[in-house]
């Protein structure tokens, strides 16, 4: 197991190298000049050129790349072109809302979707099954921002139960934090509920047709034990895989959700950085997302062993 973890951690290095080269080149090849953005609308070409020189953007691309990589290897992720802060500081400020949103979303998604999927499988072909599958199709089809605006209209504008937008840090006010997390988390969770419920239903349905389940039933096990101990546990591996793959979707969804709800997280930082061509920030955030994605999938792989003893690394 330790060998497996070490091998997987070592495998992060080529992944990050490819991501770094790709992101760096994509940004340099995409139209858009941060110096022109910084200089503003009334600037002349000479003023823009001066700013470009100050930022080191007039150096050849390969020189810029070597400087960036060598700085990263020394733990220096650079300074944002705009914020007058190091990128590390910026990310540290923005990580809490995104982390909170991701955790709340996953908790809601798993809590709601797994029972929904299990029940749909158990009542296969029933009205309940059709409702769950109908919701699943809807959850996939409706864009995140539409769900967000609908929830805001009903729960914040019409009913006035929850705030429209904003974020309060958990250390400042727990209730303030919670009431501002409810709508964004539900918004982002809808697509995950749809995804996980569908996968849970399919996996549990497959397991329920296995011989050992029939045997368990014949032994007179209760429905609860049959479903929870035998069916769901054996269906867990594909469900975990979907959750792992869904992390990428979560990052993408967070970008939209954070913009709609005004959450000052990493998703919004990414959008702002892209729109203003803040190269150091975009590069670092994308590298961070890559690391998170790889590490979470490693944890998911490790967790397989908890549910299926046949899996060994």
């Amino acid at each position: 197991m330790l060998d497996f973890i070490i091998r997987r951690l070592i495998a992060i290095i080529p992944v990050l190298t490819v991501v770094a080269v790709f992101v760096f080149l994509m940004l340099r090849l995409t139209p858009g000049d941060p110096a022109a953005v910084i200089a503003g609308d009334n600037a002349t070409s000479d003023q823009i050129a001066d700013i470009r020189t100050k930022l080191g953007l007039d150096e050849p691309i390969w020189t810029q790349f070597v400087i960036w990589i060598s700085n990263i290897l020394q733990g220096n992720f650079g300074e944002s072109f705009f914020f007058k802060k190091t990128v590390a500081e910026l990310i540290a400020q923005r990580v809490e809302p995104t982390l909170a949103l991701a955790i709340c979303t996953l908790v809601i998604a798993v809590t709601v979707a797994v029972p929904m999927g299990v029940l749909a499988a158990y009542r296969h072909g029933s009205l309940l099954d059709r409702i769950v599958m109908g919701f699943s199709v809807l959850g996939f089809s409706v864009p995140v921002f539409v769900i967000g605006y609908c929830l805001i209209y009903v729960f914040a504008i019409e009913l006035g139960w929850l705030p429209v937008q904003g974020y309060i840090r958990i250390g400042v006010s727990f209730w303030g934090f919670l009431e501002r997390m409810i709508l964004p988390s539900i918004t982002l969770a809808v697509i995950f509920v749809a995804l996980i419920a569908r996968m849970t239903r399919a996996s549990v349905l497959e397991v329920l047709n296995e011989d050992y389940i029939r045997t368990a039933r014949a032994k007179g096990l209760s429905n609860r034990v049959e479903l929870m101990r035998h069916a769901l546990r054996n269906a867990a591996v594909p469900i975990l895989t979907v959750i792992g793959l869904g992390i990428a979707g979560l990052i993408g969804g967070a970008v939209v959700t954070e913009s709609v709800y005004g959450l000052p997280g990493l998703g919004r930082l990414t959008v702002e950085a892209v729109l203003s061509r803040d190269f150091p920030t975009i590069q670092t955030v994308i590298l961070l997302f890559s690391v998170v994605y790889v590490v979470i999938n490693l944890l998911i792989d490790i967790s397989y062993t908890l549910f299926d003893p046949r899996i060994r690394y």
Partner: protein, 526 residues
């Protein structure tokens, strides 16, 4: 049920907030303001971004400022004198001016601030061409010695919009003009709270208890800057629909400029009111690239101008007539330098004349590249209107859509349009930036030193110079008209409509001053 639920949730929330955030109650009256755009850069000399300019007005003060009628009045300056030959200007500061750290504001601070501003701002650069030297006479008095009389000294020092000649401490103002400053110490009516501010989330300002407002009433950006709240929070909210939702729900107090299509929602809500804080409004611009074909030919540029019809642009972008004005004056209708363009130019198109001019100029039918920005909603519809009008005049138009940041990069290129360059772009200006021939960057005709499009016209520069040197207001006005006439004669660029974007506030907010900049002093929250 709804009320019970609200009360219950409210009580729980209040309890939790009391328990967890007791210190917040000591904040007093808080004004929550949402601007158009995120405040990322805190140096108003380093960038011309309006959000940064607004930040500057909160924490810095200016030597002079323009009032509601655009008349420049002393602000930090107590009195000033001009020598009989109009080359020596002596300024004396008001008593009791202090930096946020308690140190006194000195003449040396003012000189260093003006020198840094004079390296970045168009009007500052022009002023510095005339400045021979600055001299500190004593701690509160300094002199600006000119090489020859200059007619725009007060207009420059009281310039209302970007870049504003804000006064900073000498040590801060000595920062390279092309590097951002580190300090946020000013002498203005608010003190920036760096520890509480989180870019991308909120910026916090507290009332400056040491600030001594002028005795005269507040008017525009001039007069007494009396602060009537304890704290201002600039909330960063990128989504315009959410900005409106937050105002309707009472989560914010002021909204700088809601998009026109959402104004009907605000009009319906009794808890919200629209505020016309910027009565001068904005102006749309069409800019030609003078250094590449075909707009290097003045006849072809004129053919394009002959096809313009302002109302088409205004209907397509703003919609409601109450928020726009057909105005053929380059220096904005409703100001001293407003002059109608001759023969209905820019207002009534003459497609036949345009076609004849194109033929005479030998236009070969090569498509002109028109850049369309798709990420600034107010500009998005200008390019399709231009395409349609130019095609009616006989042009072939290749409209290329892109995000604004790509456009601002591409507009710096002087390559031919088919090799990554461009022929036409649209932008807009806040009216306060374009009130005279010197502050209007589109009027500069010095080739490479001009704004993008790089027109070269020695005659135009001669008239602009004469305007700059003219100290008689009547003669200066005649010269301003001559500049506008010359710009139309050479079809240097086109101004294609004036429009307004009101702000919005909660009904319990009053005292939002009419000015080219949204300012937070004088505002009361009941």
């Amino acid at each position: 049920m709804k009320k019970v639920m609200r009360r219950t949730l409210g009580a729980i929330a209040a309890g939790a907030i009391l328990a967890a955030a007791g210190p917040a109650l000591a904040q007093g009256k808080v004004l929550k303001f949402v601007q158009n755009g995120n405040l990322t850069i805190l140096d108003p000399i380093w960038t011309t971004a309006y959000v940064t300019r607004n930040h500057g007005y909160l924490i810095y003060d200016t030597l002079f400022a323009s009032d509601e009628n655009n008349v420049v009045k002393p602000q930090m300056v107590d009195k000033y004198e001009v020598s009989p030959d109009k080359t020596v200007w002596t300024f004396t500061l008001r008593d009791g001016l202090e930096w946020h750290d308690g140190k006194p504001v000195t003449a040396e601070d003012c000189i260093a601030s003006l020198q840094r501003w004079g390296k970045r701002d168009a009007m500052g650069l022009k002023l510095m061409d005339f400045v021979k030297e600055f001299k500190a006479v004593d701690a509160k008095t300094f002199q600006m010695v000119l090489k020859e009389p200059y007619g725009l000294v007060l207009d420059s020092l009281g310039k209302p919009s970007s870049n504003v000649p804000f006064i900073m401490p000498k040590a801060v103002a000595e920062t390279d003009a092309f590097k951002q400053i580190d300090s946020q110490i000013g002498s203005g009516p608010f003190v920036y709270q760096k520890n509480e501010s989180k870019p991308g989330e909120r910026h916090v300002y507290l009332k400056n208890p040491k600030y001594k407002p002028r005795a005269d009433a507040a008017s525009g950006l001039a007069g007494g800057k009396v602060v009537k709240v304890d704290r201002v929070e600039i909330i960063e909210m990128p989504d315009t629909q959410q900005q409106v939702n937050a105002l309707v729900a009472g989560e914010i107090d002021l909204l700088e400029q809601p998009p026109h299509d959402l104004i009907p929602i605000l009009k319906k809500d009794k808890g919200v009111k629209l505020v016309d804080w910027n009565p001068l409004g904005h102006q749309f611009i069409i800019r030609f690239n003078h250094v590449v074909k075909p707009f290097d030919n003045p006849k072809i540029r004129m053919a394009a101008l002959l096809a313009m019809r302002q109302e088409d642009y205004l209907k397509a972008t703003v919609g409601e007539p109450e928020f726009y004005k057909v105005c053929s004056a380059a220096f904005v209708c409703g100001t001293p330098n407003a002059f109608d363009a001759p023969n209905g130019l820019l207002v009534k198109p003459d497609f036949e004349k345009a076609k004849a001019l194109l033929k005479e100029a030998g236009y070969d039918g090569t498509p002109v590249v028109l850049m369309q920005s798709t990420t600034l909603p107010v500009l998005t519809n200008t390019a399709p209107v231009t395409k349609q009008l130019l095609e009616q005049a006989g042009f072939k138009v290749d409209m290329q859509s892109m995000d604004w940041q790509t456009l601002v990069t591409r507009r710096t290129k002087k390559d031919p349009a088919d090799k990554g360059g461009w022929n036409i772009l649209h932008t807009f200006s806040v009216a306060a930036d374009i009130l005279n021939p010197i502050s209007t960057s589109y009027m500069v005709a010095q080739g490479d030193k001009s704004w993008f499009g790089w027109p070269t016209d020695p005659e135009m520069e001669k008239i602009r110079d004469a305007y700059a040197k003219e100290t008689d207001p009547a003669k200066a006005k005649a010269l301003a008209k001559a500049v506008q006439d010359r710009a139309l004669e050479t079809a240097q660029y086109g101004w294609i409509g004036q429009w307004y974007g009101p702000g919005a506030s909660r009904a319990n907010i009053s005292g939002w001053l009419k000015a080219p900049v949204p300012v937070m002093w004088n505002i009361e929250k009941k």
